[in-house]
Subunit: 126 residues, 6 copies
């Protein structure tokens, strides 16, 4: 498959490497922010699945490809079905307009890649 950007593995490596550098800085508040960011999506009154869908829609309407990639990956792990994905995509599209379409195209590519990656991960576990 032709890629318009880095592979999912490259994305993850770059993300982890730069996050390490950011957290290695002596700025405690940035570390606390990263911590809050992680916790925002943990199981609570709302399930992790719903929260990841909230994160996905926020990322799409704010048009942040890397954020979309991250939440697509997490939604796949949380068991979001294709029908559910496309309904969340539709809410984003209607709310955010056609300006979100290029991001939607990349989201759909990321969804395919994430399904493949997720299958490997599980078959590798046996």
């Amino acid at each position: 498959m032709r890629r318009d950007h880095n592979s999912l593995e490259e994305f993850k490596k770059y993300r982890e490497k730069m996050n390490r550098k950011i957290l290695a800085s002596e700025n405690l508040q940035i570390q606390r922010f990263f911590n809050l960011d992680t916790r925002a999506y943990q199981e609570g009154a709302l399930s992790s699945k719903v929260k990841e869908l909230l994160g996905l829609v926020a990322s799409l309407v704010l048009r942040c490809d890397d954020c979309v990639t991250y939440h697509v990956l997490r939604c796949v792990e949380e068991g979001v079905s294709d029908a559910e994905f496309f309904e969340a995509f539709n809410v984003s599209l209607v709310a955010g307009g056609s300006i979100t379409i290029p991001h939607l195209r990349r989201a759909v590519q990321r969804l395919e890649e994430s399904r493949t990656l997720n299958k490997k991960r599980f078959s590798g576990r046996r």
Copy 2:
């Protein structure tokens, strides 16, 4: 309670009146868009409740007060609890940053007003 903007009733009246004017124009495509907007939140693979929460978070991170008001009202009708509301608010706040705080303040006011309105509606039904 001091109001930073119109009451919920005024909001609803203005919204309905202007929507009627927009839909009375001879532009069929705008009518179709409004139709798609309504349908995006209907029960499907995802529940109406989850979809309204998606709409609420999209509205908060895009910082649209009237959209927030509308989805707060709908979320109350769908039975979203206070704990669920505040977790959705937290996702919006972390994703969208402190720039969303003024909108969060108004969202919390709208939540109070919507709970009051919803109670009246139900007690009025008997």
Copy 3:
């Protein structure tokens, strides 16, 4: 007519008064910026009418009510018809999504007010 905001006359007075204060500051660059802003909409390879429509759509998708008000007023002066207005509104709505709808409602109100103001201006000229 119920107003969700200031009247068109109040808008214009406030705008002119604050612009005067801004331009009275000793910051020459801000003055030059205001100058560039005025010139951007003057007749050229594209007509003033088309440029005002460009300004209107930019204002709607960026969701700036005061900018929308200004360009609606100018478009009325340039002779934009209702059918043309609604097609420009539709481009904004499709490009910018349902998040622009509250701004569209106010734009339609401003359009009515501007038509009334424009009629008075012309009948007053005799």
Copy 4:
């Protein structure tokens, strides 16, 4: 010429391929949205040329490179001259600020590429 991104041909292929995948999903509302998006730019009270210019300015101020690319290509097909392009660019720049400059740089590159592509298309027709 050095490219900061995919060639115009690659852009078009990726766009078409992913659009097909999106439309192949069973989500009827997304299909309808895509339909509305196409229709918004068709000849009406405003000409296609003016509507494509509206789409171009909306894309520039919302800073969506792929959307800019698409509307630059369409504007070239509609016969928009260089002087007209640069006046529309100037409206976008003044309205959207220096933050649009990186997108303007890529728009100018896309304009060159689109002129070349359009010439080939026409000479190929004979």
Copy 5:
């Protein structure tokens, strides 16, 4: 002076009242976010004055009136001069474009109000 919105005193009261309600909710993470928000502007490697100017420019380019009001007030307390204010306004205007002008108008009004309020506060201290 005609006001396009609430007085500075009303703004402060509403802000404090709603912040209390938000912090009274049982959502610890929102409380932590508010804490991080306060700390971000405290004296450090960069002075509070510079940080408040950073907050002001961020608020202007993101076009959040309440955030602008807050940082104008804080900048006045930090001793920012009119010349410094207008240079920061100019950076915001050039970076964010004419779409920030309505917010600039309100910022200049807030600056006048804040200077008055600040004078009273100091004369009241004797």
Copy 6:
């Protein structure tokens, strides 16, 4: 080091080349805008260093990678320390939310590259 985008040298070359093309167009107003953009960051009531920090934060919250790259480079030239950079990053992160994190990752990479480039430039001067 793995690069998620062009090298700093490539960025600078592309930027200069396309700016030349834009300024070679016959649109005088765009030339004036570019001039205003340059002047906004010159020493005045506020130092160039502070103004570049303002530009950096504006670029981060508006999520414009190329603008961030440019201001990181200029801040390094103005002698901004790592501690100062990270406090400015923190203000951007808190104000703009987690949606700015992907841009922060690239900013930190650009900071490393700019430090390296700046060292070379100075050692090359002898």
